[in-house]
């Protein structure tokens, strides 16, 4: 009891100290903010701060497209690797071929489709058009073929799990490193995606960063390059541990 109250007191003291330090260093922060504004001036004040609109659009686009494609990839990989679906070989081959079609051949039909449902020049249209990632689906397929041996699936079946149960209780818990790998690669490809947004988005106010940065040629290019690379590097460092733990570390020990 004594110890508990002491710990609480010391925590209170620490928090108070932190608050007071922050309060005392406000002038320093003020200067730092001004320095930051000076360094980033060519970006922040460009065209009435259109940079922040692009940033917002990019986060909406990458966030939604990323979640849709990662969920689809992992589910598709699981289904193709573990369950008995009709046309399994055909589906796998189709996924492989989708990856082989050059983006040039793909861009125009996608544009026509998106235009046909009236989503041209909207973020929603771009999200729909970009939310597929065959590379990730095949990676998940390779992963699940080695991580979920038939024995394990059989045990799950004996315990009374249906197809969805196996996905929920075996597939997802085993796929931590897979999710981080697929998320990383999907994020990079979306964050840097250039062709589709270039064709689909017209108005500058609806544009995203990977296209918008063309406006900064000559002024603050290096700065924007660094800003654009940082998120990918951070995501890599964050997912590093799970990636390194092994793309396919088996679940069953002999």
């Amino acid at each position: 009891m004594e110890l508990g109250s002491q710990r609480r007191n010391s925590r209170l003291i620490k928090v108070t100290l932190l608050i007071m330090t922050f309060w005392a260093s406000i002038p320093v922060f003020w200067i730092l903010r001004d320095v930051g504004r000076m360094i980033f001036a060519p970006i922040i004040y460009f065209d009435n701060g259109i940079f922040f609109t692009w940033l917002k659009n990019t986060s909406i686009f990458v966030g939604s497209a990323l979640s849709i494609s990662v969920i689809c990839c992992i589910t598709a990989g699981f289904v193709l690797a573990v369950l008995d679906v009709p046309f399994r070989r055909f589906l796998l081959f189709a996924t492989l071929v989708t990856m082989l079609i050059p983006i040039t051949a793909m861009a125009m039909p996608l544009y026509v489709m998106i235009d046909g449902i009236g989503l041209n020049d909207t973020l929603l249209g771009l999200i729909l058009a970009s939310s597929f990632f065959p590379f990730g689906a095949l990676l998940s397929y390779l992963y699940y073929t080695s991580v979920l041996p038939p024995d394990l699936v059989g045990m799950g079946r004996i315990d009374g799990l249906g197809d969805f149960g196996i996905y929920r209780y075996l597939g997802i818990p085993l796929s931590k490193s897979l999710i981080s790998v697929v998320t990383f690669f999907c994020f990079v490809s979306l964050w840097n995606s250039y062709h589709l947004p270039r064709i689909l988005l017209v108005e500058p106010s609806k544009s995203i960063m990977s296209i918008g940065i063309e406006a900064f040629y000559g002024q603050g290019t290096t700065l924007i390059a660094i800003i654009m690379v940082i998120p990918s590097v951070l995501l890599y460092l964050a997912s590093q541990k799970t990636i390194a733990r092994g793309i396919f570390s088996g679940a069953v020990k002999e």
């Binding site: 573990v82 960063m209 092994g246």
Partner: protein, 231 residues
């Protein structure tokens, strides 16, 4: 052109297509093997020792691939320089070098991950049987990640066949507008507003890719369903 069979013939008669295909074949002959060897050797080397700066190494390999396309134009133009314009034999090596340095990083990460997942018991058994590091890599690790290696090989070949970004980056400084078949297809579709021609060329380029994919699928156990890992 409105499409139809003659579109294919007309596209093939284009004077730019021949050199473009030759360029791509050059990449296939020189840089794709180089990339495969580099990726495998770097990931096997990283896996064979306990290297302190292992994380940083992989990050350094990765970074050139993370630069967004629009900025990469300026980056690579300043790296390659503007004075190789008149020497067209040089530009081939430059584009190969760019695709090399942007392409290997992500594959090193994938292969490193697949190597890390080989069960420790197998490797210990190899050591007990008297393998040195090289034999461990050559006889045990490589065969065990062969599916991932096959996947990588086919994607690298396909990537070289439909290379677009790298020559496009040097478009303004080094006049590589119609350097690769993909670029010519792009020119057809989006600059000449001749979509049929663009698609015809893309479909022609798709043929070798599909043949490769079929070879890959039929000759490896890629299509097999999940199997017990110790078999």
């Amino acid at each position: 052109m409105d499409g139809g069979f003659e579109t294919f013939l007309l596209v093939l008669e284009d004077f730019r297509v021949g050199p473009a295909i030759f360029n791509v074949l050059f990449l296939l002959a020189v840089f794709v093997p180089l990339m495969i060897i580099t990726v495998l050797s770097v990931s096997l080397l990283l896996d064979s020792v306990h290297f302190k700066y292992d994380r940083a190494t992989r990050l350094v390999f990765l970074i050139p691939g993370l630069i967004p396309v629009a900025v990469a134009v300026l980056f690579w133009s300043s790296v390659v320089g503007y004075d190789v314009v008149w020497d067209k034999s040089n530009i081939r090596w430059m584009i190969g070098a760019i695709s090399f340095s942007t392409g290997i990083g992500s594959w090193i990460i994938i292969q490193h991950g697949s190597l890390r997942s080989i069960s420790q018991e197998v490797l210990e058994a190899g050591v007990v049987d008297g393998c040195n590091r090289f034999q461990l890599a050559w006889r045990l690790k490589l065969p065990m990640i062969s599916r991932y290696v096959a996947y990588m090989v086919i994607l690298l070949i396909v990537g070289a066949l439909q290379i677009f970004n790298e020559p496009n980056l040097l478009m303004y400084s080094n006049m590589t507008t119609d350097w690769s078949p993909s670029q010519i297809a792009f020119t057809y579709a989006f600059k000449n507003a001749d979509f049929a021609g663009g698609v015809a060329l893309s479909l022609i380029m798709l043929i070798p890719n599909v043949i490769l994919a079929l070879l890959f699928v039929l000759n490896s156990d890629f299509m097999k369903k999940s199997k017990n890992s110790w078999n």
